[in-house]
Amino acid sequence: MDAIEIKGLCKSYKDFKLDNLDLVLPSGCIMGLVGENGAGKSTTIRLIMDAIKSDAGKVTVLGVDNKSPEFRMCKEDIGVVLDEAYFPEVLTPKNVNSVMQNTYKKWDEACFFDYMTRFSLPMTKPFKDYSRGMKMKLAIAVALSHDPKLLILDEATSGLDPMVRDEMLDIFNDFTRVETHSILLSSHIVSDLEKICDYIAFIHKGKLLFCEEKDVLLEKYGIIRLPKAEFEAVPPEAVKGKKVTNFGVEALILRDKVSGAFSPERPSIEDIILFTAKGGN
Protein backbone atom coordinates (compact mmCIF):
# COMPACT_ATOMS: atom_id res chain seq x y z
CA MET A 1 0.00 0.00 0.00
CA ASP A 2 1.14 3.53 -0.66
CA ALA A 3 1.26 5.96 2.25
CA ILE A 4 0.26 8.90 0.06
CA GLU A 5 -1.10 8.86 -3.46
CA ILE A 6 -1.82 12.13 -5.24
CA LYS A 7 -3.40 12.25 -8.68
CA GLY A 8 -3.98 15.34 -10.81
CA LEU A 9 -4.10 17.69 -7.85
CA CYS A 10 -4.87 21.33 -8.78
CA LYS A 11 -5.38 24.45 -6.72
CA SER A 12 -5.51 28.00 -8.00
CA TYR A 13 -5.10 31.24 -6.14
CA LYS A 14 -5.09 34.70 -7.66
CA ASP A 15 -1.36 34.70 -8.27
CA PHE A 16 -0.42 31.04 -7.82
CA LYS A 17 -1.39 27.76 -9.37
CA LEU A 18 -0.56 24.23 -8.26
CA ASP A 19 -0.70 22.45 -11.56
CA ASN A 20 -1.79 18.85 -12.01
CA LEU A 21 0.39 17.30 -9.31
CA ASP A 22 0.99 13.53 -9.30
CA LEU A 23 2.96 12.05 -6.43
CA VAL A 24 3.28 8.64 -4.80
CA LEU A 25 4.98 7.94 -1.47
CA PRO A 26 5.35 4.16 -1.07
CA SER A 27 4.84 2.82 2.43
CA GLY A 28 8.02 2.54 4.50
CA CYS A 29 9.85 5.29 2.66
CA ILE A 30 10.93 8.87 3.35
CA MET A 31 10.19 11.47 0.71
CA GLY A 32 11.70 14.93 0.69
CA LEU A 33 9.74 17.77 -0.84
CA VAL A 34 11.99 20.50 -2.20
CA GLY A 35 11.15 23.82 -3.79
CA GLU A 36 11.75 27.54 -3.52
CA ASN A 37 9.64 29.82 -1.32
CA GLY A 38 6.14 29.88 -2.74
CA ALA A 39 6.72 26.84 -4.97
CA GLY A 40 3.66 25.09 -3.55
CA LYS A 41 5.11 22.79 -0.88
CA SER A 42 2.91 23.98 1.98
CA THR A 43 -0.10 24.18 -0.33
CA THR A 44 0.48 20.54 -1.25
CA ILE A 45 0.76 19.52 2.40
CA ARG A 46 -2.39 21.44 3.34
CA LEU A 47 -4.23 19.79 0.43
CA ILE A 48 -3.06 16.35 1.61
CA MET A 49 -4.51 17.06 5.07
CA ASP A 50 -7.68 18.44 3.45
CA ALA A 51 -7.13 21.67 5.38
CA ILE A 52 -7.88 23.58 2.16
CA LYS A 53 -10.15 22.49 -0.68
CA SER A 54 -8.61 21.38 -3.96
CA ASP A 55 -10.00 22.48 -7.34
CA ALA A 56 -9.43 19.07 -8.89
CA GLY A 57 -7.65 15.80 -8.26
CA LYS A 58 -7.63 12.99 -5.77
CA VAL A 59 -5.57 12.39 -2.63
CA THR A 60 -5.41 9.03 -0.87
CA VAL A 61 -3.66 8.88 2.51
CA LEU A 62 -2.92 5.49 4.13
CA GLY A 63 -5.45 3.98 1.75
CA VAL A 64 -8.22 6.43 2.65
CA ASP A 65 -9.64 9.09 0.32
CA ASN A 66 -9.05 12.37 2.16
CA LYS A 67 -12.50 13.63 1.17
CA SER A 68 -14.29 10.62 2.63
CA PRO A 69 -15.78 10.69 6.17
CA GLU A 70 -13.31 7.96 7.21
CA PHE A 71 -10.43 10.42 6.84
CA ARG A 72 -11.33 11.87 10.24
CA MET A 73 -10.37 8.57 11.85
CA CYS A 74 -7.38 8.21 9.59
CA LYS A 75 -5.93 11.43 11.02
CA GLU A 76 -5.23 9.48 14.24
CA ASP A 77 -2.48 7.74 12.31
CA ILE A 78 -0.91 10.92 10.94
CA GLY A 79 1.53 13.11 12.84
CA VAL A 80 1.72 16.60 11.38
CA VAL A 81 4.18 19.40 12.10
CA LEU A 82 3.67 22.65 10.24
CA ASP A 83 6.25 25.39 9.85
CA GLU A 84 4.60 27.48 12.55
CA ALA A 85 4.06 25.76 15.88
CA TYR A 86 0.49 26.23 16.92
CA PHE A 87 -0.29 25.77 20.61
CA PRO A 88 -2.20 28.37 22.64
CA GLU A 89 0.29 30.70 24.30
CA VAL A 90 -0.54 30.04 27.95
CA LEU A 91 -0.33 26.24 27.74
CA THR A 92 2.60 24.45 29.31
CA PRO A 93 3.70 21.02 28.02
CA LYS A 94 1.83 19.55 31.00
CA ASN A 95 -1.36 21.17 29.70
CA VAL A 96 -0.57 20.09 26.15
CA ASN A 97 -0.35 16.52 27.43
CA SER A 98 -3.84 16.77 28.97
CA VAL A 99 -5.29 18.27 25.81
CA MET A 100 -3.75 15.58 23.62
CA GLN A 101 -4.97 12.84 25.94
CA ASN A 102 -8.49 13.96 25.07
CA THR A 103 -7.68 14.44 21.40
CA TYR A 104 -5.92 11.25 20.35
CA LYS A 105 -7.21 7.78 21.23
CA LYS A 106 -3.71 6.39 21.11
CA TRP A 107 -1.96 9.22 23.00
CA ASP A 108 1.07 7.79 24.81
CA GLU A 109 1.86 9.95 27.83
CA ALA A 110 5.04 8.05 28.76
CA CYS A 111 6.36 8.41 25.23
CA PHE A 112 5.61 12.16 25.26
CA PHE A 113 7.36 12.74 28.60
CA ASP A 114 10.25 10.66 27.35
CA TYR A 115 10.66 12.98 24.34
CA MET A 116 10.37 16.04 26.60
CA THR A 117 13.32 14.79 28.66
CA ARG A 118 15.26 13.76 25.56
CA PHE A 119 14.77 17.22 24.02
CA SER A 120 15.39 18.85 27.44
CA LEU A 121 12.18 20.89 27.27
CA PRO A 122 10.88 22.47 30.51
CA MET A 123 7.52 20.99 31.50
CA THR A 124 6.11 23.99 33.32
CA LYS A 125 7.10 26.86 31.04
CA PRO A 126 4.21 28.37 29.07
CA PHE A 127 4.38 28.00 25.30
CA LYS A 128 4.80 31.74 24.66
CA ASP A 129 8.15 31.71 26.50
CA TYR A 130 9.51 28.88 24.37
CA SER A 131 12.18 29.69 21.78
CA ARG A 132 11.54 28.83 18.13
CA GLY A 133 13.65 25.69 18.40
CA MET A 134 11.84 24.57 21.55
CA LYS A 135 8.45 25.15 19.93
CA MET A 136 9.48 23.02 16.97
CA LYS A 137 10.75 20.25 19.22
CA LEU A 138 7.53 20.29 21.22
CA ALA A 139 5.48 20.01 18.02
CA ILE A 140 7.62 17.09 16.84
CA ALA A 141 7.28 15.36 20.23
CA VAL A 142 3.48 15.70 20.02
CA ALA A 143 3.44 14.38 16.44
CA LEU A 144 5.42 11.30 17.48
CA SER A 145 3.55 10.53 20.70
CA HIS A 146 0.29 9.14 19.34
CA ASP A 147 1.74 6.16 17.51
CA PRO A 148 1.44 7.57 13.99
CA LYS A 149 2.06 5.60 10.81
CA LEU A 150 2.74 8.64 8.69
CA LEU A 151 4.63 11.80 9.59
CA ILE A 152 4.08 14.94 7.56
CA LEU A 153 6.60 17.65 8.35
CA ASP A 154 6.54 21.08 6.77
CA GLU A 155 9.87 22.85 7.31
CA ALA A 156 10.01 21.18 10.71
CA THR A 157 13.78 21.32 10.99
CA SER A 158 14.32 24.91 9.88
CA GLY A 159 15.19 27.19 12.76
CA LEU A 160 16.97 24.38 14.57
CA ASP A 161 20.73 24.28 15.02
CA PRO A 162 22.80 21.65 13.15
CA MET A 163 23.20 19.38 16.19
CA VAL A 164 19.49 19.29 16.96
CA ARG A 165 18.65 18.91 13.26
CA ASP A 166 20.89 15.87 13.11
CA GLU A 167 19.21 14.47 16.22
CA MET A 168 15.82 14.98 14.54
CA LEU A 169 17.03 13.21 11.40
CA ASP A 170 18.10 10.28 13.58
CA ILE A 171 14.65 10.19 15.15
CA PHE A 172 12.99 10.26 11.71
CA ASN A 173 15.38 7.57 10.51
CA ASP A 174 14.55 5.36 13.49
CA PHE A 175 10.84 6.00 13.00
CA THR A 176 11.02 4.32 9.58
CA ARG A 177 12.69 1.18 10.95
CA VAL A 178 9.12 -0.08 11.15
CA GLU A 179 8.10 -1.15 7.68
CA THR A 180 4.66 0.46 7.77
CA HIS A 181 5.97 3.89 8.82
CA SER A 182 6.48 6.61 6.22
CA ILE A 183 7.51 10.27 6.21
CA LEU A 184 6.85 13.20 3.91
CA LEU A 185 8.98 16.18 4.80
CA SER A 186 9.64 19.49 3.14
CA SER A 187 12.74 21.51 3.80
CA HIS A 188 14.90 24.28 2.41
CA ILE A 189 17.90 22.50 3.80
CA VAL A 190 18.51 20.15 0.93
CA SER A 191 21.56 18.55 2.57
CA ASP A 192 19.29 17.33 5.39
CA LEU A 193 16.97 15.73 2.88
CA GLU A 194 19.89 14.20 1.03
CA LYS A 195 20.96 12.52 4.28
CA ILE A 196 17.78 10.58 4.99
CA CYS A 197 15.38 10.53 2.04
CA ASP A 198 14.62 7.58 -0.21
CA TYR A 199 12.82 9.81 -2.71
CA ILE A 200 13.19 13.47 -3.67
CA ALA A 201 10.29 15.41 -5.18
CA PHE A 202 11.05 18.82 -6.62
CA ILE A 203 8.26 21.37 -7.00
CA HIS A 204 9.05 24.52 -8.96
CA LYS A 205 6.51 27.30 -9.52
CA GLY A 206 3.57 25.02 -8.75
CA LYS A 207 4.71 22.22 -11.04
CA LEU A 208 6.38 18.93 -10.15
CA LEU A 209 9.69 18.87 -12.04
CA PHE A 210 10.70 15.42 -10.85
CA CYS A 211 10.01 12.78 -8.24
CA GLU A 212 12.74 10.21 -8.23
CA GLU A 213 14.74 7.83 -6.06
CA LYS A 214 17.54 9.83 -4.47
CA ASP A 215 20.31 7.41 -5.39
CA VAL A 216 19.05 7.15 -8.98
CA LEU A 217 19.27 10.95 -9.23
CA LEU A 218 22.83 10.89 -7.93
CA GLU A 219 23.81 8.18 -10.41
CA LYS A 220 21.98 9.67 -13.36
CA TYR A 221 23.48 13.14 -13.22
CA GLY A 222 27.03 14.45 -13.21
CA ILE A 223 28.75 17.81 -13.02
CA ILE A 224 31.35 18.80 -15.62
CA ARG A 225 33.59 21.86 -15.73
CA LEU A 226 35.12 22.75 -19.07
CA PRO A 227 36.63 25.62 -21.07
CA LYS A 228 34.02 27.16 -23.38
CA ALA A 229 35.58 25.81 -26.56
CA GLU A 230 35.55 22.23 -25.29
CA PHE A 231 31.99 22.57 -24.03
CA GLU A 232 30.82 22.80 -27.67
CA ALA A 233 31.59 19.07 -28.00
CA VAL A 234 29.04 18.13 -25.32
CA PRO A 235 25.79 16.97 -26.94
CA PRO A 236 23.10 19.57 -26.14
CA GLU A 237 20.50 16.94 -25.23
CA ALA A 238 22.78 15.80 -22.38
CA VAL A 239 22.92 19.24 -20.75
CA LYS A 240 20.26 19.76 -18.09
CA GLY A 241 21.51 23.13 -16.91
CA LYS A 242 24.64 25.23 -17.20
CA LYS A 243 26.40 28.18 -15.71
CA VAL A 244 28.64 30.16 -18.07
CA THR A 245 31.27 32.49 -16.65
CA ASN A 246 34.18 34.32 -18.25
CA PHE A 247 36.43 31.44 -17.35
CA GLY A 248 34.48 28.42 -18.45
CA VAL A 249 31.28 26.44 -18.22
CA GLU A 250 29.90 24.39 -15.37
CA ALA A 251 27.07 22.09 -16.38
CA LEU A 252 24.76 19.42 -15.07
CA ILE A 253 24.67 16.56 -17.55
CA LEU A 254 23.05 13.17 -17.99
CA ARG A 255 25.86 10.67 -17.56
CA ASP A 256 24.60 8.17 -20.13
CA LYS A 257 24.42 10.83 -22.86
CA VAL A 258 28.07 11.88 -22.76
CA SER A 259 31.28 9.91 -23.19
CA GLY A 260 33.18 9.02 -20.04
CA ALA A 261 36.08 11.14 -21.29
CA PHE A 262 34.47 14.21 -19.72
CA SER A 263 34.82 12.41 -16.36
CA PRO A 264 31.77 13.97 -14.68
CA GLU A 265 31.90 14.57 -10.94
CA ARG A 266 29.32 13.34 -8.48
CA PRO A 267 26.68 16.06 -7.95
CA SER A 268 24.84 16.84 -4.73
CA ILE A 269 21.05 16.93 -4.70
CA GLU A 270 21.41 20.69 -4.27
CA ASP A 271 23.40 20.91 -7.54
CA ILE A 272 20.73 18.92 -9.36
CA ILE A 273 17.96 21.13 -8.04
CA LEU A 274 19.67 24.45 -8.70
CA PHE A 275 20.67 23.54 -12.24
CA THR A 276 17.31 21.98 -13.09
CA ALA A 277 15.43 25.03 -11.82
CA LYS A 278 17.54 27.47 -13.78
CA GLY A 279 17.61 25.30 -16.91
CA GLY A 280 19.78 26.54 -19.73
CA ASN A 281 20.22 30.08 -18.41
Partner: protein
Protein backbone atom coordinates in the same frame (compact mmCIF):
# COMPACT_ATOMS: atom_id res chain seq x y z
CA UNK B 1 30.43 -7.75 9.47
CA UNK B 2 31.60 -4.29 8.51
CA UNK B 3 30.05 -2.35 5.65
CA UNK B 4 31.66 0.99 4.88
CA UNK B 5 29.93 3.35 2.49
CA UNK B 6 32.07 6.05 0.95
CA UNK B 7 30.63 9.11 -0.72
CA UNK B 8 33.95 9.94 -2.32
CA UNK B 9 33.80 6.63 -4.10
CA UNK B 10 32.44 7.01 -7.63
CA UNK B 11 30.94 3.52 -7.38
CA UNK B 12 27.17 3.64 -6.80
CA UNK B 13 26.14 2.85 -3.22
CA UNK B 14 24.35 -0.38 -4.11
CA UNK B 15 27.49 -1.67 -5.81
CA UNK B 16 29.55 -0.83 -2.72
CA UNK B 17 27.20 -2.87 -0.53
CA UNK B 18 27.09 -5.68 -3.09
CA UNK B 19 30.89 -5.87 -3.32
CA UNK B 20 31.49 -5.78 0.42
CA UNK B 21 28.95 -8.44 1.32
CA UNK B 22 30.21 -10.57 -1.57
CA UNK B 23 33.78 -10.28 -0.27
CA UNK B 24 32.63 -11.28 3.20
CA UNK B 25 31.03 -14.39 1.73
CA UNK B 26 33.95 -15.34 -0.53
CA UNK B 27 36.48 -14.86 2.25
CA UNK B 28 34.42 -17.07 4.54
CA UNK B 29 33.74 -14.38 7.17
CA UNK B 30 30.07 -14.96 6.41
CA UNK B 31 29.34 -18.67 6.44
CA UNK B 32 26.76 -20.71 4.62
CA UNK B 33 23.36 -20.31 6.28
CA UNK B 34 24.35 -17.16 8.21
CA UNK B 35 21.54 -14.63 8.40
CA UNK B 36 22.17 -11.26 6.80
CA UNK B 37 20.95 -8.09 8.53
CA UNK B 38 17.44 -7.21 7.35
CA UNK B 39 17.33 -4.75 4.46
CA UNK B 40 15.57 -2.13 6.56
CA UNK B 41 17.94 -2.41 9.54
CA UNK B 42 21.04 -2.22 7.37
CA UNK B 43 19.65 0.78 5.47
CA UNK B 44 18.69 2.64 8.63
CA UNK B 45 21.97 1.86 10.43
CA UNK B 46 23.99 3.06 7.44
CA UNK B 47 21.55 5.92 6.92
CA UNK B 48 21.09 5.05 3.30
CA UNK B 49 18.03 4.47 1.18
CA UNK B 50 15.97 1.32 1.73
CA UNK B 51 15.44 1.03 -2.02
CA UNK B 52 19.18 1.10 -2.70
CA UNK B 53 19.83 -1.56 -0.07
CA UNK B 54 17.13 -3.74 -1.55
CA UNK B 55 18.74 -3.38 -4.95
CA UNK B 56 22.07 -4.64 -3.55
CA UNK B 57 20.37 -7.66 -1.95
CA UNK B 58 18.50 -8.39 -5.17
CA UNK B 59 21.79 -8.40 -7.07
CA UNK B 60 23.39 -10.68 -4.47
CA UNK B 61 20.50 -13.07 -4.80
CA UNK B 62 20.59 -13.00 -8.59
CA UNK B 63 24.31 -13.73 -8.49
CA UNK B 64 23.65 -16.73 -6.24
CA UNK B 65 25.38 -15.52 -3.07
CA UNK B 66 22.30 -15.30 -0.88
CA UNK B 67 18.75 -16.61 -0.80
CA UNK B 68 15.56 -15.21 0.68
CA UNK B 69 13.13 -17.02 2.95
CA UNK B 70 9.77 -15.26 3.00
CA UNK B 71 9.12 -13.46 6.31
CA UNK B 72 12.47 -14.70 7.68
CA UNK B 73 15.05 -12.69 5.77
CA UNK B 74 18.13 -13.33 3.70
CA UNK B 75 20.75 -16.03 4.24
CA UNK B 76 24.14 -16.85 2.79
CA UNK B 77 23.78 -19.48 0.09
CA UNK B 78 25.82 -22.64 -0.20
CA UNK B 79 29.22 -21.66 -1.49
CA UNK B 80 29.44 -22.53 -5.11
CA UNK B 81 33.13 -23.24 -5.70
CA UNK B 82 32.69 -23.21 -9.46
CA UNK B 83 30.96 -19.84 -9.29
CA UNK B 84 33.70 -18.24 -7.23
CA UNK B 85 36.41 -19.72 -9.45
CA UNK B 86 34.63 -18.37 -12.49
CA UNK B 87 34.43 -14.97 -10.82
CA UNK B 88 38.16 -14.98 -10.05
CA UNK B 89 39.05 -16.09 -13.59
CA UNK B 90 37.02 -13.23 -14.96
CA UNK B 91 38.89 -10.82 -12.72
CA UNK B 92 42.28 -12.20 -13.86
CA UNK B 93 41.22 -11.80 -17.49
CA UNK B 94 40.28 -8.19 -16.84
CA UNK B 95 43.67 -7.47 -15.33
CA UNK B 96 45.49 -9.23 -18.17
CA UNK B 97 43.54 -7.21 -20.71
CA UNK B 98 44.72 -4.08 -18.97
CA UNK B 99 48.31 -5.34 -18.97
CA UNK B 100 48.22 -5.97 -22.70
CA UNK B 101 46.75 -2.51 -23.33
CA UNK B 102 49.50 -0.86 -21.28
CA UNK B 103 52.15 -3.07 -22.89
CA UNK B 104 51.21 -1.84 -26.37
CA UNK B 105 51.68 1.72 -25.17
CA UNK B 106 55.19 0.94 -23.92
CA UNK B 107 56.11 -1.26 -26.87
CA UNK B 108 56.65 -4.30 -24.65
CA UNK B 109 56.56 -7.77 -26.18
CA UNK B 110 54.86 -10.85 -24.73
CA UNK B 111 58.20 -12.36 -23.74
CA UNK B 112 59.20 -9.29 -21.74
CA UNK B 113 55.88 -9.24 -19.96
CA UNK B 114 56.21 -12.91 -19.11
CA UNK B 115 59.76 -12.40 -17.81
CA UNK B 116 58.52 -9.55 -15.69
CA UNK B 117 55.80 -11.80 -14.24
CA UNK B 118 58.27 -14.58 -13.44
CA UNK B 119 60.64 -12.10 -11.80
CA UNK B 120 57.89 -10.55 -9.70
CA UNK B 121 56.69 -13.94 -8.59
CA UNK B 122 60.22 -14.93 -7.50
CA UNK B 123 60.55 -11.74 -5.49
CA UNK B 124 57.05 -11.83 -4.08
Amino acid sequence: MDVIISNANSQPIYEQIFAQIKNNIISGRLKEGDALPSIRMLAKDLRISVITTKRAYDELERAGYIYTVAAKGCFVAEKNVELIREERLKEIEEHLKKVSELAVGCDLGDKEIFDMYVLLKKEG
